[in-house]
């Protein structure tokens, strides 16, 4: 944070806009792609959490995304990290590798839980209730 504050205060003229304001550099194309991904994924995850919390115990979720994926709230969590990785990408790269490592950690943890959730549904309600649904990532897992 100190770094950010000092940078604000001591930006050289080259980093200022024509009207003299100490401004951020122009947002890149990556930012224009990443921001909508983040907003959309956040919205979907919020909707999923709200829906799940309001479910009658115990029922198989049927709302929109859930008919396609067992854990769409995990899918959106991963997408949120993809968006942040894109935003933090160094010049010349599409994604930030450090954030990508974080995504790998999150995705593998959630994948295990998504699989347990699917198995739990099968045990409780039978295979036909979750047949044809992906665990977490459509067409992949």
């Amino acid at each position: 944070m100190i770094c950010l504050v000092t940078d604000f205060l001591s930006l050289p003229d080259a980093d200022r806009t024509t009207d003299g304001l100490p401004a951020f550099s122009k947002p890149s194309m990556k930012t224009f792609i990443a921001v909508p991904i983040f907003v959309l994924a956040s919205g979907i995850q919020h909707d999923c959490h709200k829906y799940l919390a309001g479910l009658k115990k115990y029922t198989v979720p049927q709302r929109f995304w859930f008919q396609w994926v067992v854990c769409p709230h995990y899918t959106s969590e991963c997408l949120i990290y993809v968006a942040i990785a894109m935003i933090a990408a160094p010049e010349g790269q599409i994604l930030n590798k450090t954030i990508l490592a974080g995504l790998g950690f999150v995705a593998s943890n959630l994948a295990v839980t998504a699989d347990s959730t699917r198995k739990w549904y099968i045990e409780k309600f039978g295979i036909e209730k979750v047949a044809g649904r992906w665990r977490m990532v459509p067409f992949v897992y």
Partner: protein
Amino acid sequence: MTVGQVFLAWLFMAIQGARRLYESMVFTKPSQSKMWAGLWMIGIAFYVCIGVSVWIEGIGACPDL
């Protein structure tokens, strides 16, 4: 990375954290469910590390370094 990128990455992580906190406080119902304390701690460590890693990645944008 530019200062703007560090700012935006942190802003997004803050939004995510704040929204999840809100959801936990508003949606969560009382439950007997148990969670392994180790997993909870790993989670805290993850959020600390991912946050600090954005600082480290953005250190090149700091003046006088």
